[in-house]
Amino acid sequence: MTKLTYLIPLFPLIGFLVNGLGRRVLPKSFSGAFGSLTVLASFILSVLIFMEVRVDGFTAQQIRLFSFINTASLNIPFAFQIDQLSSLFLLIITGVGFLIHVYSTAYMSNEGSDHYARYFAYLNLFVFSMLLLVLGANYVIMFIGWEGVGLCSYLLIGYWFKNGDYNNAAKKAFVMNRIGDLGFLLAVFWMIGQFGTTNFSDIFPRANDTAPAVLTGITLLLFVGATGKSAQIPLYTWLPDAMAGPTPVSALIHAATMVTAGIYMIARSNILYTLAPVTPSIVAVIGLATSILAATIAIQQNDIKKVLAYSTVSQLGLMFLGLGVGAYTGAVFHVMTHAFFKALLFLGAGSVIHAMHHEQDIRNMGGLKKHLPVTHLTFLIGCIAIAGIPPFSGFFSKDEILMGAFAHSPVLYFIGTFSALLTAFYMFRLYAMTFLGTFRGTHEQEHHLHESPAAITIPLVILALLAVVAGFLGIPEVFAKDAHWLQHFLAPVFADSTARQEAHAISHNTEYAMMGGTVLAILVIMFYALKKFGAYTKTGEEASGFAKLLANKWYVDEIYEAVISRPLRGLSVFFNNVIERSAIDGIVNGTGKFIQYSSRQLRWLQSGQVGSYILIMVVATVVFFIIQIFGK
């Protein structure tokens, strides 16, 4: 079965080509169906491969397709790697991807047929790139997918290309990603210099014999790449702006898959991170800081998608915390559950936006519960799942990360828990303002409120089911021994790292106490938020003080603008106007002018007077005589 791996990315690629080239002629029904079916085909293949991989004792397999870069000193094959980690991600990408494709057929149905086909072409291209990213057997193939998803993100954020703001958001996303990509690339070059190869299977066994300083450098540079792709400090600001894209895109790219690429990459390179002395702490601290920062901002946002975007950044931060403290399984677990409930939340938000005729401000919503019953219910499930209330999936995965953090340092645990509490607060604020209370929009909007069609609700229901049950794949030790299926499944991938980590046994009582305390706190905050915002009325007053700081996102964008963009622009103008025009070209043109000027001066010697010529001749002769006689 693994021999057919190349088909998995190939199907979406075909979908991209057919939809992209035939966008003028294909009817909408075809391009939507074809785009979805290609992903479905990949999903089926992924399931088949998964069946093979889940057997105990399966070892990672490389499938070499052809030689990509082949020189005397460097050989990079175009090769795929199938193992437990990539197989799991294949399922998430193609599975959630397929649902979102189906959802999109209805969500985007107002578009013209060529734009509709363009949309599906981009979406297929994204799935293709994402599959390359997780399938690559070396860092270069991974990088191809890595940049490819960045490109698709750019194309899809700027999908409505007439809008200048959307284009700016798209550009920002691409450039921020590029900054991260530079870090990734430098890490790849370093690896080439150090190991002479970029293949996972060649590098990881040799990590043990590598100087810790080198590993630290490589892992830090890779982490820079991850901060770009997975929206961490300092490169996170693109993700909230990326909400300019169509909502299904936000669900697929900016919640479920692409932004988790950084986590995938670090989980893939786990042995390097485990062996590097300093990096894990940095990863953990950055992740935690991002998590808190984004959560605080989310509290004051009023755009339904922005809240979800900051929530994504915050959750990603938690995943990095997990990676940093060595809870690799926990991080991957959270990637999976997050993919389900965050995709669900975004799609639910999309359903709301659809019903509200592209209104995204939650201050103008409220009381949608009775108009959108399915959306409401699934959205509520999503909120409960992300808030971490048992037995929904978010509880298990978040708990695993926090326990890992506790084992590392209680400080990390408490800050992480604080972030989890904030999550519960802003999510139920969002829920309450959207679905509870009374409707605050215009009458026309109220008149048109309607539940979305089946193509939208069915994916919601499926994702809601997944968001409920996915947690049972990773039941912690406390509840039942050896019930953590995911840990068992991924064990071969993290085996080397696990062997090097000291086991921190936390007593079961402590664990129960912490879990109970956290859940209790979450419930309290949940009811507080529901009570406070359930009866929200529009006041029209501006936020002030600390709330204003949060509403303006800590002014990070403005700071970047002032510290980086504007000086760079000033420098460029200075180069262009002063150095280029005046200095360099001035020297060049000055040389020419000097020659012309000096020639004009010398011309006066050529007076035309015979006498003056003779005089010069005589004087010259006399001078030569003098030199001849007295010079020696």
Partner: protein, 488 residues
């Protein structure tokens, strides 16, 4: 006389030469255009044919040496090896594309225009094929002179000024080169101009140091490397687009190619001694040019500065003396030529319809011309070296080599790829996205033959980007020769 036509290198020079001379006598505009396209396609066909005979047993078909100036020790020697093959391929592919894409332009004295274009092609082929220093110098100048006339006779308002600057600049460089060549020639034991003698000449370290600069300045002006670049934006801006394509697509590669063939292997010690200076200049130039590109409003100037940045990377990687980056640079020369010609074609198509190149005055073209927009986006992405486009392969290897030389240079140069993304996407955004204005409201999408040309470029971008193996095979042995000079 017929013996002159039994080998590929000579034919590759003769065909454009004859084609060019004949064009001067065709007064009818349509006929001369047809003739020029035919001539360039014949050259391409001939070159494609030569690709069937690349192995060593057909050596005789790829190498030729006529008696030329025996008393000076110079013979008319040409050789089609892997390194020259990749650049001849670029030359052969570019000219039909250039002629076809600018088919609708009208020029005064079209016969002279196309004649000079084909003569330029002849000169370029000669530069890439020559393995005798005097022949090399001869073609080096032969390529410059028609280019000067093309730039000064046809083009924008300030063309005379720009072309004159270009000419003086490159000519000054050429003089240094000539002095250098003659000095090395006198130092060869057998008083010969041949490449082999140049490779074997014994020069003291002292001599190498100043001869290096003699050669380097000539090549650096042509490339151009910061701070010898100021002729370039002016000339690109003022020349007719077809000429700009030749200048930027192929002619700047002369400098890089010449550095690989005539500079690195001849003065290995000096190259080692000055590598930091050259690479430093190149890296500074990359950042500098990228910054300037950020604030350009004229499409042509934007592309010109972007080209300076890209060429900077290539020249930096050449001087790292590293097999990986050498091969990357060779491949990138081809890729850069293809990509930048694609960009110029897009600029040409926009200017043809709207009459303007100012980014700030354009906008919303994607609504009116989706096909052009898509093709441009692909070419623009290739220009910023996105994976699976051709430029990624080259830039990846060049960066890898540069990193091996010094991580700091690679990191600094890497900043320019971020800046490249900024200015390229800005350009795409401001020209193609957003809303229409009065100038762009009447824009029509490109017609079939324009589409075919751009699609061909895009296809080349992807073929090389996904499967670069044949290219690597073409240049492998040639780059090993150059590197071999440094391993003693």
């Amino acid at each position: 006389m017929f013996a002159a036509f039994d080998n590929f290198p000579a034919l590759l020079i003769w065909l454009p030469l004859i084609g060019g001379l004949v064009s001067f006598f065709i007064k009818n505009e349509r006929s001369v255009k047809a003739w020029a396209i035919l001539s360039s396609i014949l050259t391409l066909a001939l070159f494609a044919f030569s690709l069937l005979y690349t192995d060593d047993k057909h050596y005789i078909l790829n190498s030729v040496s006529y008696v030329w100036l025996p008393e000076l020790g110079s013979s008319f020697s040409l050789f089609l090896d892997g390194m020259s093959r990749i650049l001849c391929l670029l030359t052969a592919i570019s000219f039909p594309l250039i002629f076809a894409s600018t088919y609708s332009s009208t020029y005064k004295n079209p016969n002279a225009f196309y004649g000079l274009m084909l003569l330029t092609q002849c000169g370029l082929m000669g530069v890439f094929l020559a393995v005798d220093a005097l022949v090399f110098y001869f073609f080096w100048e032969l390529a410059l002179i028609p280019a000067y006339f093309l730039a000064s006779q046809w083009g924008g308002e300030k063309r005379i000024q720009a072309a004159f600057k270009f000419f003086i600049y490159t000519f000054a460089g050429s003089l240094f080169l000539l002095i250098g060549i003659i000095y090395v020639y006198l130092k060869t034991p057998e008083q010969s101009f041949s490449l082999v003698s140049f490779y074997n000449v014994q020069l003291s370290a002292q001599e190498q140091m100043w001869l290096f600069w003699m050669f380097f300045v000539a090549f650096a002006i042509k490339m151009p490397i910061f701070p010898f670049h100021t002729w370039q934006p002016d000339v690109y801006e003022q020349s007719p687009t077809a000429v700009t394509m030749v200048l930027s697509g192929i002619m700047v590669k002369m400098g890089l190619f010449a550095a690989i063939r005539w500079l690195l292997p001849v003065f290995p010690e000096a190259v080692r001694h000055y590598d930091n200076v050259v690479i430093g200049l190149a890296v500074v130039g990359m950042l500098y040019a990228s910054c300037i590109a950020l604030v350009q409003d004229d499409l042509k100037r934007l592309i010109a500065y972007s080209s300076i940045a890209h060429i900077g990377l290539m020249s930096a990687s050449l001087f790292t003396i590293n097999q990986m980056s050498m091969q990357g640079a060779l491949i990138q020369m081809f890729n850069h030529g293809v990509n930048i010609i694609g960009l110029w074609i897009v600029v040409y198509l926009i200017e043809k319809q709207t009459g303007i190149r100012k980014i700030s005055q354009l906008g919303g073209l994607a609504q009116k011309a989706p096909a052009l927009a898509i093709l441009l986006v692909v070419i623009a992405l290739a220009n910023i070296a996105l994976p699976l486009t051709n430029a990624f392969v080259g830039e990846f290897m060049m960066f890898a080599g540069l990193y091996k030389f010094s991580p700091w240079y690679a990191a600094a140069a890497g900043i320019s790829i971020i800046l490249a993304a900024v200015y390229t996407l800005n350009m795409v955004k401001n020209v193609f996205y957003g809303n229409l204005n009065t100038i762009t409201a009447g824009f029509r999408d490109i017609v079939l033959y324009e589409r075919v040309i751009l699609v061909m470029i895009v296809v080349m971008i992807f073929i090389v980007g996904v499967y670069p193996e044949p290219m690597f095979n073409m240049i492998r042995s040639a780059s090993e020769v150059v590197i071999g000079k440094f391993i003693k």
